[in-house]
C-alpha cells in the first residue's frame, strides 16, 4: 500500500509518502495565502520525489489547521495525534513530544503503545511559537537560520518578556538601542520562549525520552534553552518538521488496513 500524510500548518505544509515502513518521499513548502494550492504543491513535490502518482495513493490522512482543505483526503486527524504517531515510529522510546510550530506549541504525553495520554497547547498568544522567533529575527535583521548558532555565542543573555510577542518586540528594539549584543539578545529570546513552553508543559509532565519537533526544532539554540529549562535531555529526530505528516501517513496505513 502507498499512503499519504499531509500536514497543513499556518507557516508550512508538509506531505509524506509512505510505503510499508519506508518514506518514499516528502516535501515541505511555505503555506502562503492559498492553502489548497499549497497542499497540492507539497503533495505533488512529495509524489515526484517518490515516483508515485496521486491516484496510486491508497489512503490519505490530513492534519494541521488546514486539514479540511486537502481535497483528496480520506480522513482528517488532529496534529496532536499525528505528531505522537510520527514520533513514536521514529523513536520508540519517546514519552514526551514538544512540538513548536509556526503559530502554536504543544506538549504531548505518549504511552508505551505510542498513544496520546495527555496534551496541552498554547492559548491565545504567539509567544512560544515560531512566529515569536520570526518577529525577533526581523527586528534584529538576521535570518531565522542564524538565530540558533548565534545564541550559543552569548556571554550575558538578556532578560526578555515571554508574555507577548508584540511587547517583546518593543522590548527588543529598546534593548538593541541600549547597545545589548545581538547574541545576548537572541539567547534571551530563546530562554523566554523555552520558559514559556516549559511552564505550559508542566501540566503534562516531561518524561524521557523527550522529542522536539516542528520547524523550530531546527534551531539548536531553542533545544539547548529547553534542556536548560526542564533539566532533561531532548532529542531532535531526523526531519523534525515532517513528524505530523509522517504520523498522518502512518494513521492512513492503519485506516487502510482496517478497511481492507
Amino acid at each position: 500500500m502507498i499512503l499519504g500524510g499531509v500536514d497543513v500548518g499556518a507557516a508550512t505544509t508538509k506531505t509524506v509518502i509512505l510505503q510499508d515502513d519506508k518514506i518514499l518521499g516528502f516535501a515541505v513548502i511555505n503555506t502562503g495565502s492559498d492553502v489548497i494550492k499549497a497542499t497540492n504543491k507539497a503533495t505533488h513535490q512529495a509524489l515526484d520525489g517518490a515516483g508515485v502518482k496521486l491516484e496510486e495513493l491508497d489512503y490519505v490522512v490530513s492534519t494541521g489547521y488546514g486539514r479540511e482543505s486537502v481535497t483528496f483526503r480520506n480522513k482528517t486527524v488532529t496534529e496532536i495525534i499525528c505528531h505522537a504517531a510520527g514520533v513514536s515510529w521514529m523513536m520508540s522510546g519517546a514519552r514526551t513530544v514538544i512540538d513548536i510550530g509556526g503559530q502554536d506549541s504543544k506538549v504531548i504525553g505518549i504511552d508505551e503503545d505510542g498513544r496520546v495520554n495527555n496534551f496541552i497547547m498554547n492559548d491565545k498568544c504567539a509567544a512560544g511559537t515560531g512566529r515569536f522567533l520570526e518577529v525577533m529575527a526581523r527586528v534584529l535583521e538576521i535570518d531565522l537560520d542564524e538565530m540558533g548558532p548565534l545564541s550559543l555565542q552569548a556571554k550575558k543573555p538578556c532578560s526578555v518578556s515571554s508574555t507577548c510577542t508584540v511587547f517583546a518586540e518593543s522590548e527588543m528594539i529598546s534593548l538593541r538601542a541600549k547597545g545589548e549584543k545581538r547574541e545576548d539578545l537572541i539567547s534571551g529570546i530563546h530562554k523566554a520562549m523555552a520558559h514559556r513552553v516549559a511552564i505550559m508543559g508542566q501540566s503534562v509532565g516531561f518524561k524521557k525520552q523527550i522529542a522536539l519537533t516542528g520547524g523550530v526544532a531546527h534551531n539548536i539554540g531553542i533545544k539547548k534553552a529547553l534542556e536548560e529549562e526542564i533539566k532533561m535531555e531532548i532529542i531532535t529526530p531526523d526531519q523534525p518538521q515532517i513528524m505530523g505528516a509522517l504520523g498522518a501517513a502512518l494513521l492512513a496505513r492503519t485506516e487502510a488496513q482496517r478497511k481492507a
Binding site: 488532529t78 495525534i81 498513544r115 496534551f119 496541552i120 492559548d123 491565545k124
Partner: protein, 464 residues
C-alpha cells in the same frame, strides 16, 4: 395579519392565540431590544439549525426563556420592583426573596437571561459587549464578559436600572466590583454577600463553624436590606415556599440529568444546558413554564432512550462537562460533532448531604450551610467534587472549560486537571474558552484541542 416575529415565536412553541394576546408586550420589548426583521429572520434559521426542534420540550424551553426576557425588559414599565442578583451564587436567596414578596417583583439574573436569548436565539450579544467596552469595562483588561453583558444592557437602556442589586464577593469577586461600578453610574443600592474563602486544603466537606456564622450573617443582612429597601420580609415560611415552588423544576431537571446519561446520548448538551440555566436566570416563569417544559422534554427524551435513539453513536466517549456556553450553541455542537457525549455535569452528582448535628440558628445560616456544601467556597472542594463525580459517574473524560478572565475558574484550570487525572485516573481537558463571548473563542479556534481530546479518549476506550 402575520407579523415578522410570528415564525420565530411559533418555532419556540408560542401558539397563535398567545402571540395575539402578548402582542403589545412583544412589540414593546422587541423595540427596546432593538430587534428588527433581519434579526428575526436570522434567529429563525439559528434556532432551526442549533436546536432540536423535533422535541416539543425544547421549543417550550425556548419559550420560557423568551417569556422571561419579556418580563425582564418590561419590568419597570409594568410597575414592578426590580432586583438583580449575580451568577452563579445568589439564585437560592433570590428564590426565597421572590417567594416572600407581596409586591409585583422581578428578581433574576439579567446577564444570564440575555446570553440565552439575545445570544443563543438572536446571535446579538455583541452590541451589549461593545457598549460595555465603551462604558467602563474595556477590552483587553481581562474582564468578565458576563459582567459586560449586564453593563452593556444598562448602557443601551435594554434593561431597567434595578431598585436593588445583590451579588456575592465570594468565588466571583468581579461581579461585586462590576456592580459597584454600575452603582456609581446609575445610583441603585447594592448589597454584597461576602464569604470567607480561605479554607484549609483538605477541609471540605467540613468547615470552620465561623464560616457558617459569617456567611449566614451576610445572607441575613441581605434579607434585612431587602426588607428595608422593598418592604419584603423573608421568613421561614417564605423559605419553605421557595423550596415548594422550585421543587417541581428541580425534580424535572434531575430526571433530565439522569436521562442524559443514556448511551447513546439522547439529546444535545445545548438543550440540557438551556434547561439547567433557567434555574440560574430567574425566579419567575422559569419555575413554572420552565418546569413544565422540562417535564415535556423528559418524556420525549425517555421515548428516545427507550428506542436507543441518540444524537451520537453508541459508545461515544462520555464527558463530565463543567459548563456549557451560554451565548453560542455552535461550540457545544462542535464538541458533539467531534464525538464527545457531554452527558454529565456537576449537577449529575449532588453535593454531600447536610450533617444533622450542625446547629442552624437563622434563615441565613440555613442557606449558608447549603452553599458551603456546594463548590463556590473551597478550591479543594471544587477539585474534590470533580474527582468524586469522575469516580461515581460512568465517564471517559472530564472537560474543564474555563474563562481566562474569570479568576476562580482560571485559577483552577490546571489544578482540577492534575487533581482529577492523579486521583481519579480520568483524562481531563483544560480548555480555555469564553462561555458568554465567543468572539475570540469560536468553534474553529477550539476545534483542534477538542478533536484531539476526543481522539485520545476513543483510542483509550478501544484499548481497554
Amino acid at each position: 395579519m402575520a407579523e415578522y416575529y410570528d415564525k420565530l415565536l411559533g418555532l419556540c412553541s408560542f401558539s397563535t392565540k398567545e402571540i395575539d394576546s402578548l402582542k403589545p408586550r412583544l412589540e414593546k420589548a422587541f423595540e427596546k431590544l432593538g430587534l428588527n426583521r433581519q434579526d428575526f429572520s436570522r434567529a429563525e434559521e439559528r434556532v432551526a439549525t442549533q436546536h432540536d426542534l423535533e422535541l416539543v420540550g425544547v421549543r417550550k424551553i425556548l419559550r420560557a426563556w423568551l417569556l422571561d426576557l419579556l418580563d425582564l425588559v418590561l419590568s419597570r414599565e409594568e410597575g414592578k420592583k426590580v432586583v438583580y442578583y449575580g451568577y452563579p451564587s445568589i439564585q437560592g436567596p433570590g428564590m426565597t426573596i421572590k417567594a416572600a414578596s407581596n409586591i409585583n417583583l422581578y428578581i433574576g439574573c439579567p446577564d444570564v437571561v440575555l446570553c440565552h436569548t439575545l445570544g443563543q436565539i438572536f446571535d446579538k450579544i455583541t452590541p451589549l459587549l461593545e457598549a460595555a467596552e465603551k462604558s467602563g469595562l474595556p477590552p483587553g483588561h481581562g474582564l468578565c464578559s458576563l459582567q459586560q453583558v449586564r453593563n452593556g444592557a444598562l448602557a443601551l437602556g435594554i434593561i431597567p436600572v434595578p431598585d436593588l442589586v445583590t451579588g456575592s464577593s465570594y468565588f466571583c469577586d468581579m461581579g461585586s466590583k462590576a456592580d459597584e461600578l454600575l452603582h456609581e453610574i446609575y445610583g441603585h443600592p447594592a448589597i454584597y454577600v461576602d464569604g470567607i474563602m480561605d479554607s484549609a486544603w483538605g477541609e471540605y466537606p467540613q468547615w470552620l463553624p465561623e464560616r457558617l456564622k459569617f456567611l449566614g450573617a451576610q445572607i441575613d443582612k441581605l434579607y434585612a436590606t431587602v426588607n428595608d429597601v422593598l418592604g419584603i420580609k423573608v421568613t421561614q415560611q417564605s423559605s419553605e415556599k421557595a423550596m415548594q415552588i422550585s421543587r417541581r423544576f428541580f425534580k424535572a431537571l434531575g430526571r433530565l440529568t439522569k436521562l442524559m446519561m443514556a448511551d447513546p446520548m439522547p439529546v444535545s448538551g445545548v438543550e440540557s444546558g438551556m434547561a439547567l440555566n433557567l434555574a440560574a436566570a430567574s425566579t419567575g416563569v422559569s419555575m413554572t413554564d420552565g418546569a413544565e417544559a422540562i417535564e415535556t422534554l423528559c418524556d420525549e427524551v425517555q421515548a428516545r432512550v427507550d428506542k436507543s435513539q441518540g444524537i451520537l453513536e453508541k459508545g461515544a466517549p462520555r464527558v463530565l462537562n463543567f459548563i456549557q456556553p451560554f451565548s453560542d450553541p455552535s461550540i457545544t455542537h462542535m464538541m458533539e460533532k467531534a464525538g464527545l457525549a457531554l452527558s454529565s455535569s456537576l449537577v449529575t452528582v449532588p453535593p454531600p448531604k447536610r450533617d444533622p448535628s450542625i446547629q442552624i440558628n437563622t434563615l441565613g445560616e440555613d442557606r449558608a450551610e447549603a452553599a458551603l456544601r456546594d463548590v463556590y467556597h473551597s478550591g479543594y472542594g471544587l477539585a474534590k467534587r470533580f474527582e468524586d463525580a469522575a469516580r461515581l459517574v460512568n465517564i471517559d473524560g472530564v472537560l474543564w472549560g474555563y474563562l481566562f478572565n474569570c479568576r476562580p475558574l482560571a485559577q483552577y484550570s490546571h489544578l482540577v486537571k492534575q487533581w482529577v487525572e492523579k486521583n481519579a485516573g480520568i483524562p481531563t481537558l483544560s480548555l480555555e474558552m469564553d462561555i458568554y463571548d465567543s468572539r475570540s473563542y469560536g468553534p474553529e479556534a477550539l476545534k483542534t484541542r477538542v478533536e484531539a481530546f476526543a481522539e485520545m479518549l476513543r483510542a483509550r476506550k478501544a484499548a481497554m
